[in-house]
């Protein structure tokens, strides 16, 4: 049985996949990083680029907390390998405010108290930005339906809908 430190004596039999250099544009900044092929975009953002605003809630595309915008479209970054996004333009929650001025959705989420614990909030806001860009949702019912990939366990849904409506009206 190994004791702490005993691992050093073991001959390595299993090698992990070789890391690959990739380039991403994240929040307008060109980034070069080296990641293993099995690293998700979510983990690349959080662990490699220290952009922890993007949240991990399930790692299975079930909760939406990891939603980011890739080339303008909202995706679950936990279901996307970073190496698949070579050259892509990525916007995370950290990239929405400009020069200290909040994005209209960020302000609307504060105005309508559209969150409590805040852990789903980055994903909700990025998802809402994607939703508005899609131009599909017009009514509250359509917003509810098309925002249902983003779970909020605190139950702020009615306020999330109000916040998105406010931002839609102003955009």
């Amino acid at each position: 049985m190994a004791r702490s430190g005993a691992a050093k004596r073991v001959t390595r039999m299993v090698t992990v996949p070789e890391k690959i250099p990739i380039r991403l544009t994240v929040n307008g900044n060109r980034m070069e990083l080296t990641v293993a092929p099995w690293t998700t975009l979510l983990d690349a953002l959080r662990d490699h680029l220290d952009l922890t605003g993007t949240k991990k809630g399930c790692d299975h595309g079930q909760c939406g907390a990891c939603t980011v915008l890739v080339d303008g479209r909202r995706i679950n970054s936990c279901l996307t390998l970073a190496v698949m996004k070579e050259g892509a333009e990525i916007i995370t929650i950290e990239g929405l405010a400009h020069d200290g001025e909040l994005h209209p959705l960020q302000q609307a989420f504060i105005d309508h108290d559209a969150f409590q614990c805040g852990y789903c909030t980055s994903g909700q806001i990025c998802s809402a930005a994607g939703l508005i860009a899609e131009g599909k949702a017009k009514t509250a019912d359509e917003i509810r339906e098309l925002m249902s990939g983003n779970i909020c366990r605190c139950g702020a849904y009615p306020n999330i809908v109000s916040a998105i409506q406010q931002a839609m009206e102003r955009s």
């Binding site: 004791r3 299993v14 409590q116 805040g118 509810r144 990939g149 779970i151 366990r153 605190c154 849904y157």
Partner: protein, 735 residues
């Protein structure tokens, strides 16, 4: 200056949360961070015969694998593992302690690697051989082995006799399945070991609870352990007790002398605490005039084999309805599962669900309107203790809630209201919870430039603690809210209880008021010391702090600015630490109340149920912030919708394992499930409950909601479903 207390102040931590700046426990990327991944048991009961980490150790990047056989030393006595909310009876679970398997999903090994993906793949290569033992995970098959808890509610009269001779009777069993909290944030801890000093970022509802627990488990001195939790991505009770990942992270950090992060997967979180599956039996007997004569409430809930977790489900009827004869019994059944734990309104979410469905059924039997029945049986006293309430505006909740809902337009007959292909149902229920206060200390540091830091070791689990602390401090110190800096979520701050039980608002805010009064006293002394002081002769309660000044309450023209008072006394800061006064007075009951009205629409062909409208009218004393208070209660209603229609942890009892350990197959409400929710706060001034009249809101929002929805489903369909959740298969044969 307008008062912040009572105003809809936006969250002071709002900006940090909408920009992604707020850091949660698993987000501290310190240099040299080691990633831990847990290997869990695949059997619910037995022993580990052999555990072979060699496959994992062969993976490039793996540093070590910790198991019960090679872990660093941990305490060997139960007391060391008993945290603030540990059960009185039993032996707390000790992660990686020995070879005994107590539940499926129990951590058996921790794989440590240079990155998370490597740790995860290596964890799949750890081989475990077990000696299985027979297990039980089904409450229904074990109910004959139920045993009563030590402190039941006292009986009154002879409930059985009164029930037997009652003019109208209702008797039925209700069932609530196991539920999991599923906070959005995964449980995570980051442990940083620095030459004997330990700093831990932990997902917890109580930093000081975890700090004391770690000191016990690792035999460390209190000043060598600091636990931080500046933000918490949802708790709902799951973070009241220290969870096992914090022990594993600290074990590894001590073993490796490196910083370690352990983040659980969503699936692994189904081996933490849960709301226990509970069978509830109600027997209500009424006189022909529609008043209660007999009330029996029995509950059988699940606990683990190794701890007796009990939250009395019965007895809530004592607070709501007069009945000369009453009997209560709360029992437990031990199963091979993790110890159940507090989950939003523990004991009440479940017990009041059953009670309020039973009252609805009694109303049907009596051919009485459900609101009318509740008014007929209304109790102005807590009958268990036979004492009056500090305040109880529940009648007003019924009145305002019914008016806002339009209850008077309800047709009593089930299946009598329709809209197209939908059957429409209207149901209601009452809610009740406790208005508690716990001992809390707050520190205020006021600087001469009119800024103040307000600190206590509370947590803000999304409830809005940061914001209400800033509001109360700003008012009490007479400063703009932007000048208040709130510090919490750090075990080195002044003593504060766990964030739970709806007691934080009352406890912390009354402590702020006391500390602010002490600061005011210090300022007054400085002001009186000034030459020709306009405040000469004034006492601390003769003055107030308003707009940066110390002002006479009798004559507002007599005032001294904080800046000049401090300048004259050459004080650049005033630091005070005071506690709240927790009332020992047992002469009055302290409770919050609510009335919930729900509308459901049930597709007649498909059985699909939608909750289209909910009105929740709450009487909870002083509302500090209508914005965050509304969110609290609205969130509780969403939880009630989930409890009524969606949530159920499903076991395969043959293997003793959870089948739906993920957030897609364990259904929680999503945006499309939630429609119109109206929250009403009924005016309820209460100077007796505590000086600021605060009762707390964390739990009351969920209590009674599932019952109101279940009653509405009955009203829509004529079908009474007593086993939660009410899924379409249970209602589809409603003809």
């Amino acid at each position: 200056m307008a008062s912040y207390i009572g105003s809809a102040t936006p969250r002071v931590d709002g900006r940090a949360k909408v920009t992604g700046e707020a850091k949660y426990a698993g987000e501290f990327n310190v240099p040299g961070l080691v990633h831990g991944y847990v290997v869990e048991s695949t059997i619910p009961k037995g022993r580990i015969v052999r555990i072979d980490p060699s496959g994992a150790l062969e993976v490039d990047g793996v540093i070590d694998v910790l198991t019960h056989r090679n872990r660093p030393q941990m305490a060997d006595k139960d007391d060391a593992y008993k945290d603030e909310v540990a059960t009185e009876k039993g032996s707390p679970y000790r992660p990686l302690y020995d070879d005994i398997v107590l539940f499926s999903g129990q951590p058996l090994a921790l794989v440590l690697a240079e990155d998370w993906e490597t740790a995860r793949v290596a964890a799949s290569l750890v081989k475990v051989e077990y000696q299985k033992a027979p297990h039980v995970t089904d409450l229904h098959t074990e109910r004959a082995n139920a045993f009563a808890i030590d402190k039941p509610e006292k009986p009154r009269g002879d409930a059985e006799k009164a029930f037997a001779s009652a003019a109208v009777r209702h008797e039925a069993e209700y069932f609530i399945p196991t539920e999991h909290h599923n906070p959005m944030e995964l449980f995570a801890s980051t442990a940083i070991w620095d030459d004997g000093q330990l700093t831990v970022y932990d997902k917890t509802q109580g930093v000081q609870n975890v700090q004391q627990y770690l000191c016990g488990v690792f035999k460390m001195k209190p000043d060598a352990v600091r636990v931080m939790s500046p933000y918490m991505g949802g708790g709902f009770g799951s973070g009241l007790r220290p969870q096992y990942q914090v022990v594993l992270a600290v074990l590894a950090a001590r073993a490796l002398k490196r910083p370690v992060r352990v983040m659980l997967s969503r699936a692994q979180m189904y081996a933490l605490g849960h709301r226990p599956a509970t069978i509830e039996r109600l027997a209500l007997g009424a006189k022909s005039d529609g008043t209660l004569d007999a009330m029996t409430h029995e509950a059988i809930a699940v606990t683990s084999q190794f701890e007796e977790f009990a939250r009395n489900d019965t007895g809530w009827g004592n607070l709501l309805y007069r009945s000369p004869n009453a009997k209560f019994e709360h029992k437990l059944v031990k199963l091979d599962v993790p110890t159940s734990c507090d989950m939003r309104a523990p004991g009440a979410a479940t017990g009041v669900y059953a009670l309020e469905c039973a009252m609805d059924e009694l109303a049907v039997a009596l051919k009485t309107d459900p609101v009318q029945l509740r008014l007929q049986c209304y109790s102005d006293r807590d009958q268990g203790a036979d004492i009056p309430y500090t305040s109880k505006q529940l009648r007003e909740c019924y009145r305002e809630g019914a008016a806002a809902f339009g209850w008077d337009k309800r047709k009593a007959e089930p299946r009598s209201m329709r809209e197209g292909s939908d059957l429409v149902g209207w149901g209601m229920a009452s809610g009740v919870w406790e208005a508690l206060q716990m001992a809390t200390t707050v520190r205020i540091v006021l600087t001469a430039n009119g800024h103040a830091e307000v600190a206590t070791a509370a947590s803000d689990i999304g409830t809005g603690t940061y914001t209400i602390m800033a509001q109360v401090a700003a008012d009490m110190l007479g400063l703009p809210i932007d000048n208040i800096n709130v510090k919490l979520g750090d075990s080195t701050l002044p003593q504060c209880p766990l964030e739970g039980g709806s007691w934080i608002a009352s406890s912390v805010c009354n402590a702020i008021a006391n500390t602010a009064r002490a600061v005011r006293g210090d300022l007054l002394k400085l002001a009186i010391g000034m030459k020709d002081s306009p405040l000469a002769g004034a006492g601390v309660d003769d003055v107030a702090l308003i707009d940066g000044k110390i002002v006479s309450r009798r004559d507002a023209t007599r005032a001294v600015s904080i800046a000049s008072a401090m300048q004259s006394g050459t004080a650049d800061r005033i630091t005070r630490e005071e506690a709240n006064k927790v009332a020992e007075d047992k002469s009055h009951a302290r409770n919050v109340h609510s009335a919930i009205f729900a509308e459901v629409k049930v597709d007649e062909q498909l059985g699909v149920i939608r909750v289209t409208r909910v009105v929740n009218a709450v009487a909870a004393g002083r509302i500090l912030n209508p914005k965050t208070a509304h969110s609290q209660v609205m969130g509780g209603v969403v939880w009630g919708i989930g409890m009524a229609l969606h949530e159920e942890t499903l076991f395969d009892h043959r293997f003793g394992r959870v089948m739906n350990a993920n957030i897609a197959e364990y259904h929680v409400p999503v945006n499309a499930d939630v429609h119109d929710i109206k929250v009403i706060f009924v005016d309820e001034p209460d100077e007796m409950v505590n000086p600021l009249g605060i009762k707390g809101l964390g739990e009351i929002g969920i209590v009674g909601v599932a019952a109101a929805i279940a009653n509405a489903v009955y009203h829509a369909t004529g079908k009474r479903v007593r086993d939660l959740p009410i899924t379409l298969d249970k209602v589809i044969q409603f003809n």
